[in-house]
Protein backbone atom coordinates (compact mmCIF):
# COMPACT_ATOMS: atom_id res chain seq x y z
CA UNK A 1 0.00 0.00 0.00
CA UNK A 2 1.13 3.51 -0.83
CA UNK A 3 1.77 5.83 2.06
CA UNK A 4 2.24 9.57 1.73
CA UNK A 5 5.77 10.95 1.62
CA UNK A 6 5.66 14.59 2.64
CA UNK A 7 8.30 17.31 2.41
CA UNK A 8 8.05 19.64 5.40
CA UNK A 9 9.08 23.22 4.62
CA UNK A 10 9.87 25.72 7.35
CA UNK A 11 9.38 29.46 6.83
CA UNK A 12 11.55 31.87 8.77
CA UNK A 13 11.69 35.57 7.90
CA UNK A 14 9.79 34.82 4.67
CA UNK A 15 12.47 32.43 3.38
CA UNK A 16 12.78 28.68 3.76
CA UNK A 17 15.18 27.33 6.34
CA UNK A 18 16.09 23.95 7.75
CA UNK A 19 16.94 23.35 11.39
CA UNK A 20 18.91 20.83 13.41
CA UNK A 21 17.09 19.89 16.63
CA UNK A 22 14.89 22.95 16.03
CA UNK A 23 17.96 25.24 16.11
CA UNK A 24 20.88 26.24 13.83
CA UNK A 25 18.81 27.45 10.90
CA UNK A 26 20.27 27.14 7.47
CA UNK A 27 18.78 29.15 4.61
CA UNK A 28 17.37 27.02 1.79
CA UNK A 29 15.77 29.50 -0.59
CA UNK A 30 12.56 31.02 -1.77
CA UNK A 31 9.36 29.10 -0.85
CA UNK A 32 7.68 29.57 -4.23
CA UNK A 33 10.70 28.27 -6.11
CA UNK A 34 10.87 25.27 -3.82
CA UNK A 35 7.19 24.49 -4.35
CA UNK A 36 7.64 24.72 -8.11
CA UNK A 37 10.48 22.21 -7.94
CA UNK A 38 8.43 19.91 -5.72
CA UNK A 39 5.64 20.10 -8.33
CA UNK A 40 8.03 18.78 -10.93
CA UNK A 41 9.05 16.00 -8.56
CA UNK A 42 5.34 15.15 -8.12
CA UNK A 43 5.49 14.99 -4.34
CA UNK A 44 2.51 13.56 -2.47
CA UNK A 45 1.80 16.55 -0.24
CA UNK A 46 3.58 19.52 1.34
CA UNK A 47 3.52 20.71 4.93
CA UNK A 48 4.36 24.40 5.18
CA UNK A 49 5.14 25.71 8.63
CA UNK A 50 5.83 29.31 9.65
CA UNK A 51 8.07 28.83 12.68
CA UNK A 52 8.07 32.56 13.57
CA UNK A 53 4.33 33.20 13.85
CA UNK A 54 3.69 31.80 17.33
CA UNK A 55 6.98 33.13 18.67
CA UNK A 56 6.17 36.61 17.36
CA UNK A 57 2.60 36.27 18.58
CA UNK A 58 1.12 37.12 15.21
CA UNK A 59 -1.37 35.47 12.84
CA UNK A 60 -0.34 33.59 9.69
CA UNK A 61 0.83 35.72 6.78
CA UNK A 62 -2.22 34.97 4.65
CA UNK A 63 -1.13 36.81 1.50
CA UNK A 64 2.26 35.10 1.40
CA UNK A 65 0.96 31.61 2.02
CA UNK A 66 -1.85 32.03 -0.52
CA UNK A 67 0.73 32.91 -3.13
CA UNK A 68 2.73 29.80 -2.27
CA UNK A 69 -0.37 27.57 -2.37
CA UNK A 70 -1.43 28.95 -5.74
CA UNK A 71 1.70 27.36 -7.23
CA UNK A 72 1.04 23.95 -5.70
CA UNK A 73 -0.65 21.11 -7.56
CA UNK A 74 -0.59 18.74 -4.64
CA UNK A 75 -2.36 18.80 -1.26
CA UNK A 76 -1.05 21.48 1.07
CA UNK A 77 -1.08 21.78 4.85
CA UNK A 78 -0.26 24.97 6.74
CA UNK A 79 0.86 25.46 10.32
CA UNK A 80 2.11 28.42 12.38
CA UNK A 81 0.21 30.97 14.42
CA UNK A 82 -3.19 29.35 13.84
CA UNK A 83 -5.28 30.38 16.86
CA UNK A 84 -8.84 31.06 15.78
CA UNK A 85 -11.56 29.61 13.59
CA UNK A 86 -11.25 32.73 11.41
CA UNK A 87 -7.59 31.89 10.77
CA UNK A 88 -8.61 28.39 9.78
CA UNK A 89 -11.29 29.57 7.35
CA UNK A 90 -8.85 31.93 5.70
CA UNK A 91 -6.18 29.26 5.38
CA UNK A 92 -8.60 26.96 3.56
CA UNK A 93 -9.71 29.80 1.31
CA UNK A 94 -6.03 30.46 0.60
CA UNK A 95 -5.74 27.10 -1.14
CA UNK A 96 -4.74 24.74 1.67
CA UNK A 97 -6.51 21.45 2.37
CA UNK A 98 -5.34 21.17 5.95
CA UNK A 99 -4.39 23.24 8.95
CA UNK A 100 -1.71 22.18 11.40
CA UNK A 101 -2.29 23.12 15.04
CA UNK A 102 0.40 22.97 17.70
CA UNK A 103 0.62 25.58 20.47
CA UNK A 104 -3.13 26.20 20.50
CA UNK A 105 -3.72 22.53 21.39
CA UNK A 106 -2.41 23.41 24.84
CA UNK A 107 -4.29 26.68 25.33
CA UNK A 108 -7.59 26.01 23.54
CA UNK A 109 -8.16 22.39 22.52
CA UNK A 110 -11.78 23.33 21.73
CA UNK A 111 -10.51 24.92 18.54
CA UNK A 112 -9.84 21.40 17.22
CA UNK A 113 -13.46 20.42 17.81
CA UNK A 114 -14.76 23.64 16.29
CA UNK A 115 -12.51 23.23 13.27
CA UNK A 116 -13.44 19.58 12.78
CA UNK A 117 -17.13 20.49 12.83
CA UNK A 118 -16.60 23.23 10.30
CA UNK A 119 -14.14 21.71 7.81
CA UNK A 120 -14.07 18.02 8.74
CA UNK A 121 -11.55 16.10 10.83
CA UNK A 122 -9.52 15.13 7.78
CA UNK A 123 -8.41 18.76 7.46
CA UNK A 124 -7.25 19.19 11.05
CA UNK A 125 -3.72 18.04 11.86
CA UNK A 126 -2.49 18.03 15.46
CA UNK A 127 1.25 18.62 15.57
CA UNK A 128 3.05 17.13 18.55
CA UNK A 129 6.74 17.88 19.16
CA UNK A 130 8.51 15.65 21.66
CA UNK A 131 11.93 14.97 23.19
CA UNK A 132 13.46 12.12 25.09
CA UNK A 133 14.14 13.04 28.71
CA UNK A 134 17.56 12.61 30.31
CA UNK A 135 16.30 9.79 32.48
CA UNK A 136 14.27 8.05 29.81
CA UNK A 137 10.66 8.68 28.97
CA UNK A 138 9.33 11.13 26.44
CA UNK A 139 7.63 14.50 26.90
CA UNK A 140 5.70 16.84 24.61
CA UNK A 141 7.24 20.30 24.06
CA UNK A 142 5.77 23.54 22.73
CA UNK A 143 7.15 26.89 21.54
CA UNK A 144 9.61 25.50 18.99
CA UNK A 145 10.84 22.88 21.41
CA UNK A 146 11.64 25.30 24.24
CA UNK A 147 8.81 24.61 26.71
CA UNK A 148 8.35 21.25 28.32
CA UNK A 149 4.87 19.98 29.16
CA UNK A 150 3.87 17.14 31.45
CA UNK A 151 2.28 15.11 28.65
CA UNK A 152 3.70 12.00 27.05
CA UNK A 153 3.26 11.90 23.25
CA UNK A 154 0.90 8.95 23.63
CA UNK A 155 -1.43 10.67 26.11
CA UNK A 156 -1.43 13.93 24.23
CA UNK A 157 -2.15 12.23 20.91
CA UNK A 158 -5.22 10.66 22.51
CA UNK A 159 -6.39 14.05 23.74
CA UNK A 160 -5.95 15.48 20.24
CA UNK A 161 -7.81 12.55 18.72
CA UNK A 162 -10.69 12.84 21.16
CA UNK A 163 -10.98 16.55 20.39
CA UNK A 164 -11.53 15.72 16.71
CA UNK A 165 -8.13 15.84 15.00
CA UNK A 166 -7.89 13.92 11.75
CA UNK A 167 -4.22 13.06 12.03
CA UNK A 168 -1.18 13.49 14.22
CA UNK A 169 2.10 14.98 13.02
CA UNK A 170 4.53 13.37 15.42
CA UNK A 171 7.83 15.24 15.50
CA UNK A 172 10.91 13.91 17.30
CA UNK A 173 12.93 17.04 18.09
CA UNK A 174 16.11 15.20 19.14
CA UNK A 175 16.62 13.72 15.68
CA UNK A 176 15.49 16.75 13.64
CA UNK A 177 18.06 17.40 10.94
CA UNK A 178 20.35 14.56 12.08
CA UNK A 179 19.49 11.81 9.56
CA UNK A 180 19.54 9.32 12.45
CA UNK A 181 16.13 7.87 11.59
CA UNK A 182 12.75 8.23 13.26
CA UNK A 183 11.95 7.30 16.86
CA UNK A 184 10.06 4.15 15.87
CA UNK A 185 9.29 3.12 19.44
CA UNK A 186 7.10 6.19 19.93
CA UNK A 187 5.58 5.92 16.45
CA UNK A 188 4.50 2.39 17.37
CA UNK A 189 3.15 3.27 20.80
CA UNK A 190 1.22 6.31 19.55
CA UNK A 191 -0.18 4.74 16.39
CA UNK A 192 -1.40 1.68 18.27
CA UNK A 193 -3.00 3.86 20.93
CA UNK A 194 -5.16 5.94 18.53
CA UNK A 195 -7.22 5.25 15.40
CA UNK A 196 -6.32 8.33 13.34
CA UNK A 197 -3.26 8.39 11.04
CA UNK A 198 0.18 9.25 12.39
CA UNK A 199 2.64 11.17 10.21
CA UNK A 200 6.19 10.47 11.35
CA UNK A 201 8.74 13.29 11.20
CA UNK A 202 12.14 14.01 12.71
CA UNK A 203 15.30 12.26 11.62
CA UNK A 204 14.66 10.63 8.26
CA UNK A 205 17.82 10.10 6.24
CA UNK A 206 16.69 7.67 3.55
CA UNK A 207 13.79 5.59 2.23
CA UNK A 208 14.78 2.77 4.56
CA UNK A 209 13.85 5.05 7.48
CA UNK A 210 10.43 5.56 5.86
CA UNK A 211 10.01 1.80 5.68
CA UNK A 212 10.80 1.40 9.38
CA UNK A 213 8.26 4.09 10.27
CA UNK A 214 5.61 2.39 8.16
CA UNK A 215 6.31 -0.93 9.81
CA UNK A 216 6.04 0.75 13.20
CA UNK A 217 2.55 1.96 12.27
CA UNK A 218 2.95 5.37 10.57
CA UNK A 219 0.34 6.17 7.91
CA UNK A 220 2.56 8.80 6.31
CA UNK A 221 6.15 9.98 6.57
CA UNK A 222 7.54 13.50 6.42
CA UNK A 223 11.04 14.90 6.25
CA UNK A 224 12.90 18.16 5.81
CA UNK A 225 16.67 17.85 5.46
CA UNK A 226 16.51 14.71 3.35
CA UNK A 227 14.57 16.61 0.66
CA UNK A 228 16.52 19.88 0.67
CA UNK A 229 20.16 18.95 1.29
CA UNK A 230 22.69 16.86 -0.50
CA UNK A 231 25.04 15.06 1.82
CA UNK A 232 27.82 14.96 2.93
CA UNK A 233 28.34 18.73 2.59
CA UNK A 234 24.76 19.83 3.18
CA UNK A 235 24.64 21.70 -0.12
CA UNK A 236 21.13 22.89 -0.88
CA UNK A 237 19.60 20.55 -3.43
CA UNK A 238 15.91 19.79 -3.62
CA UNK A 239 15.24 16.13 -4.26
CA UNK A 240 12.58 13.46 -3.79
CA UNK A 241 12.87 9.68 -4.08
CA UNK A 242 11.95 8.12 -7.40
CA UNK A 243 8.61 6.30 -7.57
CA UNK A 244 10.43 3.08 -8.44
CA UNK A 245 12.48 3.30 -5.26
CA UNK A 246 9.43 4.14 -3.15
CA UNK A 247 7.48 1.25 -4.65
CA UNK A 248 10.23 -1.25 -4.07
CA UNK A 249 11.24 -0.22 -0.55
CA UNK A 250 8.16 1.41 0.90
CA UNK A 251 4.88 0.61 -0.85
CA UNK A 252 5.40 -3.10 -1.43
CA UNK A 253 5.63 -4.04 2.20
Amino acid sequence: MRIRVIPSLLIHKSGLIKSVQFKNYKYIGDPINAVKIFNEKEVDEIALIDIDATRENRPPNFEAIAEIASEAFMPMAYGGGVNTIEHIKRILLSGFEKVILNKVLHSNINLVTQAANLIGSQSVVASIDFRKSLFGGYKVYTDNGTKKTNYTPKDFAKIAENAGSGEILLNFIDNDGTYKGYETEIIASVSHHIRIPVIAIGGAGNVEDFRKAKQAGASAVAAGSMFVFQRPHQAVLISYPKQSELKETLFNI
Partner: protein, 205 residues
Protein backbone atom coordinates in the same frame (compact mmCIF):
# COMPACT_ATOMS: atom_id res chain seq x y z
CA UNK B 1 -14.81 28.36 -20.80
CA UNK B 2 -15.54 26.13 -17.83
CA UNK B 3 -17.93 27.34 -15.13
CA UNK B 4 -17.11 26.17 -11.62
CA UNK B 5 -20.26 26.14 -9.52
CA UNK B 6 -19.90 28.02 -6.26
CA UNK B 7 -22.45 26.85 -3.71
CA UNK B 8 -20.38 27.55 -0.64
CA UNK B 9 -19.03 24.03 -0.03
CA UNK B 10 -15.35 23.74 -0.59
CA UNK B 11 -12.26 25.27 -2.03
CA UNK B 12 -12.75 26.28 -5.65
CA UNK B 13 -9.56 28.31 -6.02
CA UNK B 14 -7.31 25.33 -6.59
CA UNK B 15 -9.44 24.05 -9.48
CA UNK B 16 -9.30 27.45 -11.13
CA UNK B 17 -5.56 27.60 -10.46
CA UNK B 18 -4.89 24.36 -12.27
CA UNK B 19 -7.13 25.31 -15.19
CA UNK B 20 -5.27 28.63 -15.48
CA UNK B 21 -1.97 26.78 -15.43
CA UNK B 22 -2.97 24.57 -18.38
CA UNK B 23 -4.40 27.52 -20.28
CA UNK B 24 -8.12 26.83 -19.91
CA UNK B 25 -10.40 29.74 -19.11
CA UNK B 26 -12.73 29.31 -16.19
CA UNK B 27 -15.01 31.28 -13.93
CA UNK B 28 -16.34 30.65 -10.46
CA UNK B 29 -20.02 31.49 -10.19
CA UNK B 30 -23.22 31.09 -8.20
CA UNK B 31 -25.20 33.16 -10.69
CA UNK B 32 -28.19 31.40 -12.32
CA UNK B 33 -27.86 33.34 -15.53
CA UNK B 34 -24.16 32.53 -15.92
CA UNK B 35 -24.75 28.86 -15.15
CA UNK B 36 -27.68 28.80 -17.59
CA UNK B 37 -25.28 29.89 -20.31
CA UNK B 38 -22.33 27.72 -19.29
CA UNK B 39 -20.66 25.50 -21.88
CA UNK B 40 -19.18 23.12 -19.34
CA UNK B 41 -19.73 22.76 -15.63
CA UNK B 42 -17.65 21.59 -12.72
CA UNK B 43 -19.46 20.72 -9.50
CA UNK B 44 -16.81 20.67 -6.75
CA UNK B 45 -17.40 20.12 -3.06
CA UNK B 46 -15.90 19.09 0.23
CA UNK B 47 -17.74 18.16 3.40
CA UNK B 48 -20.85 16.38 4.60
CA UNK B 49 -23.38 15.14 2.00
CA UNK B 50 -26.36 16.82 3.71
CA UNK B 51 -24.44 20.08 4.07
CA UNK B 52 -23.64 19.99 0.36
CA UNK B 53 -27.25 19.35 -0.67
CA UNK B 54 -28.54 22.01 1.71
CA UNK B 55 -26.08 24.54 0.32
CA UNK B 56 -27.12 23.65 -3.23
CA UNK B 57 -30.77 24.15 -2.31
CA UNK B 58 -29.98 27.41 -0.57
CA UNK B 59 -28.14 28.63 -3.64
CA UNK B 60 -31.31 28.07 -5.67
CA UNK B 61 -29.33 26.37 -8.43
CA UNK B 62 -30.90 22.90 -8.51
CA UNK B 63 -33.52 23.76 -11.14
CA UNK B 64 -31.03 25.34 -13.51
CA UNK B 65 -28.58 22.47 -12.96
CA UNK B 66 -31.27 19.92 -13.79
CA UNK B 67 -32.24 21.86 -16.90
CA UNK B 68 -28.61 22.09 -18.05
CA UNK B 69 -27.52 18.55 -17.26
CA UNK B 70 -30.62 16.45 -17.87
CA UNK B 71 -32.36 18.37 -20.67
CA UNK B 72 -29.60 20.26 -22.46
CA UNK B 73 -26.95 17.60 -21.85
CA UNK B 74 -24.30 20.13 -20.89
CA UNK B 75 -21.11 18.31 -19.80
CA UNK B 76 -20.66 18.31 -16.05
CA UNK B 77 -17.75 17.02 -13.98
CA UNK B 78 -18.40 16.36 -10.29
CA UNK B 79 -15.39 16.33 -8.02
CA UNK B 80 -15.23 14.59 -4.61
CA UNK B 81 -18.47 15.51 -2.77
CA UNK B 82 -19.58 16.91 -6.14
CA UNK B 83 -19.76 13.45 -7.72
CA UNK B 84 -21.49 11.99 -4.67
CA UNK B 85 -24.22 14.65 -4.96
CA UNK B 86 -24.96 13.38 -8.48
CA UNK B 87 -26.15 10.04 -7.03
CA UNK B 88 -29.59 9.27 -5.56
CA UNK B 89 -28.59 9.42 -1.90
CA UNK B 90 -25.77 8.85 0.56
CA UNK B 91 -25.46 6.73 3.67
CA UNK B 92 -23.75 9.76 5.20
CA UNK B 93 -26.98 11.69 5.51
CA UNK B 94 -30.70 11.87 4.97
CA UNK B 95 -30.96 14.41 2.13
CA UNK B 96 -31.87 13.19 -1.35
CA UNK B 97 -29.12 13.57 -3.92
CA UNK B 98 -29.50 15.12 -7.38
CA UNK B 99 -30.13 11.68 -8.86
CA UNK B 100 -28.50 12.45 -12.21
CA UNK B 101 -26.77 9.09 -12.11
CA UNK B 102 -28.29 5.80 -10.98
CA UNK B 103 -26.53 4.78 -7.83
CA UNK B 104 -25.82 5.72 -4.27
CA UNK B 105 -22.99 6.79 -2.03
CA UNK B 106 -22.09 4.27 0.63
CA UNK B 107 -19.78 3.93 3.60
CA UNK B 108 -16.52 2.02 3.23
CA UNK B 109 -17.02 -1.59 4.29
CA UNK B 110 -14.64 -1.61 7.25
CA UNK B 111 -14.68 -5.40 7.46
CA UNK B 112 -12.83 -5.48 4.13
CA UNK B 113 -10.11 -3.02 5.18
CA UNK B 114 -6.76 -4.02 6.65
CA UNK B 115 -5.99 -2.79 10.17
CA UNK B 116 -3.65 -0.09 8.84
CA UNK B 117 -6.25 1.18 6.34
CA UNK B 118 -7.86 4.07 8.15
CA UNK B 119 -11.00 6.01 7.39
CA UNK B 120 -11.03 8.49 5.76
CA UNK B 121 -9.06 7.08 2.89
CA UNK B 122 -6.55 9.88 2.54
CA UNK B 123 -3.73 9.59 0.07
CA UNK B 124 -2.70 8.64 -3.44
CA UNK B 125 -4.02 5.62 -5.31
CA UNK B 126 -2.91 4.16 -8.62
CA UNK B 127 -6.22 3.91 -10.48
CA UNK B 128 -7.38 1.08 -12.79
CA UNK B 129 -9.86 0.27 -15.55
CA UNK B 130 -9.93 3.69 -17.18
CA UNK B 131 -8.74 3.03 -20.72
CA UNK B 132 -12.18 3.25 -22.36
CA UNK B 133 -12.82 6.84 -21.43
CA UNK B 134 -12.02 10.01 -23.36
CA UNK B 135 -11.41 11.58 -19.98
CA UNK B 136 -8.26 9.45 -19.79
CA UNK B 137 -7.19 9.99 -23.40
CA UNK B 138 -3.38 10.15 -23.70
CA UNK B 139 -3.14 9.82 -19.93
CA UNK B 140 0.37 9.61 -18.49
CA UNK B 141 1.56 6.15 -17.53
CA UNK B 142 0.58 4.74 -14.16
CA UNK B 143 -1.83 7.54 -13.27
CA UNK B 144 -2.35 8.20 -9.59
CA UNK B 145 -4.69 10.60 -7.87
CA UNK B 146 -5.19 12.14 -4.45
CA UNK B 147 -8.25 10.91 -2.51
CA UNK B 148 -9.84 12.13 0.71
CA UNK B 149 -13.15 10.41 1.48
CA UNK B 150 -15.04 8.18 3.90
CA UNK B 151 -17.82 7.24 1.48
CA UNK B 152 -17.68 5.93 -2.06
CA UNK B 153 -19.96 5.42 -5.06
CA UNK B 154 -21.98 2.30 -5.72
CA UNK B 155 -23.41 2.42 -9.24
CA UNK B 156 -26.49 0.60 -10.46
CA UNK B 157 -25.04 0.13 -13.93
CA UNK B 158 -21.46 -1.05 -14.10
CA UNK B 159 -21.24 0.55 -17.56
CA UNK B 160 -21.38 3.96 -15.84
CA UNK B 161 -18.12 3.22 -14.04
CA UNK B 162 -15.37 5.43 -15.45
CA UNK B 163 -12.41 4.31 -13.37
CA UNK B 164 -11.79 2.14 -10.32
CA UNK B 165 -9.47 2.41 -7.35
CA UNK B 166 -8.52 -0.09 -4.71
CA UNK B 167 -8.65 0.63 -0.99
CA UNK B 168 -9.21 -2.66 0.75
CA UNK B 169 -11.33 -3.55 -2.27
CA UNK B 170 -12.10 -2.13 -5.71
CA UNK B 171 -14.64 0.68 -5.81
CA UNK B 172 -15.92 3.02 -8.53
CA UNK B 173 -13.71 6.10 -8.37
CA UNK B 174 -15.54 7.88 -11.15
CA UNK B 175 -18.60 7.87 -13.36
CA UNK B 176 -19.37 8.55 -16.99
CA UNK B 177 -22.85 8.48 -18.42
CA UNK B 178 -23.12 10.57 -21.57
CA UNK B 179 -22.55 14.18 -20.54
CA UNK B 180 -22.44 13.32 -16.83
CA UNK B 181 -18.98 12.75 -15.42
CA UNK B 182 -17.47 12.71 -12.00
CA UNK B 183 -14.46 11.61 -10.00
CA UNK B 184 -14.08 10.82 -6.32
CA UNK B 185 -10.47 12.02 -6.24
CA UNK B 186 -9.07 15.56 -6.56
CA UNK B 187 -7.66 16.16 -10.06
CA UNK B 188 -6.76 19.73 -9.03
CA UNK B 189 -4.36 18.28 -6.44
CA UNK B 190 -3.00 15.43 -8.56
CA UNK B 191 -0.15 16.94 -10.57
CA UNK B 192 0.10 16.16 -14.29
CA UNK B 193 -2.48 13.36 -14.03
CA UNK B 194 -5.13 15.81 -12.89
CA UNK B 195 -4.05 18.34 -15.50
CA UNK B 196 -4.49 15.79 -18.27
CA UNK B 197 -7.90 14.79 -16.96
CA UNK B 198 -9.15 18.39 -16.76
CA UNK B 199 -7.71 19.14 -20.18
CA UNK B 200 -9.58 16.11 -21.59
CA UNK B 201 -12.82 17.23 -19.96
CA UNK B 202 -12.45 20.57 -21.67
CA UNK B 203 -11.34 19.20 -25.05
CA UNK B 204 -13.35 15.99 -25.47
CA UNK B 205 -16.78 16.78 -24.09
Amino acid sequence: MITIINYNAGNLGSIKNMLNYIGIQSQISNDKYIIENAEKLILPGVGHFDYGMQQLKKSGLIAVLTQKVVIEKTPILGICLGVQLLTDFSEEGTEKGLGFIKGKTISFDKTKLASNQKIPNMGWIDVDNYTQSKLFENMHDEPRFYFVHSYHLELENSTDCLVTAKYGYDFAAGIEHGNILGVQFHPEKSHKYGMKLLENFYKNY
